[in-house]
Symmetry: C2
Subunit: 333 residues, 2 copies
DNA sequence: GGCGAACGTGCAATCGTTCCCAAAATTTGT
DNA sequence: ACAAATTTTGGGAACGATTGCACGTTCGCC
């Protein structure tokens, strides 16, 4: 019993009685007569032939593989994003290669890998070290686009929610409910996303003549947000509302409220940003600003494909509007 | 300005003043003198050379790409699994290519893709259609292993939690708390995982002299589980405890309890299976059987690598013990 | 100092495709 | 029915690496 070598294009050609060019054309949609096409397809299926991916991409310089760099998946938002990307890219025959960035290190150490897997393009949904990555990728002529985060150096194109708009709308919502003492729990400080949300929220408050909100870092983590919430609510004059830079932290904040015996939406209002799946669950019923994930993913893929096709699109960041979703975690003061 | 073609091994060879064989050996760890190695590495880094992935895998028949087929990621368990796999495989220089199976269709329609991307191996963490996939993969000589699910045809190796042990332990726990009227919410019926858990749970109850539990299908979905919970709890003689075939459904069951004004752990006990991250959150505090995900992933990767290395391992399913985690969603009857 | 062993090197074949090119076959027009 | 236009076909050169083989070197050792 010899290990059967998988059939090659030549085996198919022989069996179909044509040249390998014909077989190639039959598979890639080149011009072939109906007759040969049939014969080729028949021979191929009899032999269980499948074109070799590596040979093909060696010749064409296309792998139909797209890298997706994301941070720790315990933030519910990312699984949703991954699923959407996977589905969207599948429509164009592409697949997602995952790069989960180790929390602290960011994705800098995996740049080499990112560039070494023959990907057609890369989507950076990870927050940190965008600048270095940007530089390295453009040097390697690798198409890149950012998702839910902008490259502050302005060299990479990207797609994100209009964070400033969203944060302003959340601010208006809380202010409209009569809150004036509002705290903010931000994410990691060097993330553009967090910064934009925080800044816009603050500005809106100041513009409404309210005091500058207390700012705490939640580091985009549950523990961080829980700790921040604890500190805020146990202070002498606790805020009546807290705006968290994302749902992941807002949910932790709600948990912490319960722990402290405060009812979210009554004793203290909590608002988030993202609208992850479980935000809608009755236990949380989180008021939040919904990111238009589907539209963002579509735009992102489109942009990346344009880059891959050779269209230069430098530094343009597309900002899509989301939608305020009011639930019961916020209420009148 | 001409589009600069990425440097090839030949460019490096020329610049370093050696043959391409030497360059290749310097990169793949072949035998080269210290002197040449240095010259090659220097030339390579000056040119920003990276070996072409496709050329390399064409020659070596190895892509260092592993396919991972999973179902909808809204079940919290899978993101955790994905992250673990990604991390574990990265240790061996491999990357995960994602195949998210569209709910209804299962992964049957994507078999061709699964086999067409030049993967070194495939991990099936998706529940359905294992048999067809198994057949097709072995025919294509593609190493495959199942995760958290067993191939009933017994042809594919796999790794999963000892579901029967786990379910029995959960049953004992509930019985020990004095429950005798216990209902079960199962997943999709043709999933081995659900079947094993349900069967073992039932057996344990019968063995304890308790009545055969009511069985409802939750279809592994939130909505399904919520509906089932509603029906169970609004019945004439509602059960005092509910065992859900996974946490995803158990969490939905808890939500539904709140909706119906019943306190989990007091009015009705809820137990799950998996121990996903949020099960530990105070809002849920779900009693559950923890799957040893890290160990499972390790074993799974090891098994797959063995297959890739050519060691035949047919149909062996490894079942690892987990651990009961008691929280407050279950209580005395 | 001479003789193997050990090591480092380059040549050339090879992996399985795609695609250009010229030739052959077919269709079309008159 | 013949020439021109069109379509289909096969040969063969890439694509960018790895690797078996044979040939020099270098070195150690008696």
């Amino acid at each position: 019993m010899t290990a059967v070598r998988p059939p090659t294009i030549i085996d198919v050609a022989r069996r179909a009685g044509v040249s390998k060019s014909a077989v190639s054309r039959a598979f890639t949609g080149g011009s072939v007569s109906e007759d040969t096409r049939e014969r080729v397809l028949k021979a191929a299926s009899e032999l269980r032939y499948r074109p070799s991916h590596s040979a093909r991409s060696l010749k064409t310089n296309r792998s139909r593989l797209i890298g997706l760099a994301v941070t720790h998946l315990d933030n519910q938002f990312y699984p949703e994003v991954i699923e959407k990307f996977s589905g969207r890219l599948a429509c164009d025959g592409c697949r997602v290669v995952l790069f989960v960035t180790r929390g602290e290190a960011g994705l800098e150490p995996m740049i080499d890998e990112l560039l070494g897997f023959g990907l057609d393009g890369v989507i950076l949904a990870s927050s940190s070290h965008a600048a270095e990555v940007a530089a390295e990728c453009t040097r390697a002529a690798m198409p890149v686009i950012m998702f839910n985060n902008v490259d502050t150096s302005g060299r990479l194109p990207g797609v994100c929610t209009d964070n400033e708009l969203g944060a302003a709308i959340v601010a208006d919502h809380l202010i409209g409910l009569g809150h004036s003492s509002i705290a903010i729990i931000e994410g990691v400080p060097d993330s553009s996303t967090s910064r934009e949300r925080v800044t816009a929220f603050r500005e809106r408050m100041l513009k409404a003549g309210l005091p500058d909100p207390v700012l705490r870092s939640g580091d985009y983590s549950s523990q961080g947000a829980a700790q921040a919430t604890r500190e805020l609510l146990m202070a002498e004059a606790p805020p009546t509302a807290i705006f968290c830079a994302n749902d992941h932290m807002a949910l932790a904040a709600i948990e912490t409220c319960h722990e402290l015996g405060k009812a979210p939406g009554r004793d203290v209002s909590i608002a988030g940003f993202d609208d992850v799946g479980i935000a809608a669950w009755p236990s949380f019923s989180l008021t939040t600003y919904k990111q238009p994930v589907a539209a963002m993913v579509d735009a992102c893929v489109e942009g990346l494909f344009a880059e891959i096709a050779g269209e230069r699109m430098i530094g343009e960041t597309l900002r899509l509007p989301g939608e305020l979703v009011v639930r019961s975690s916020t209420g009148k003061n």
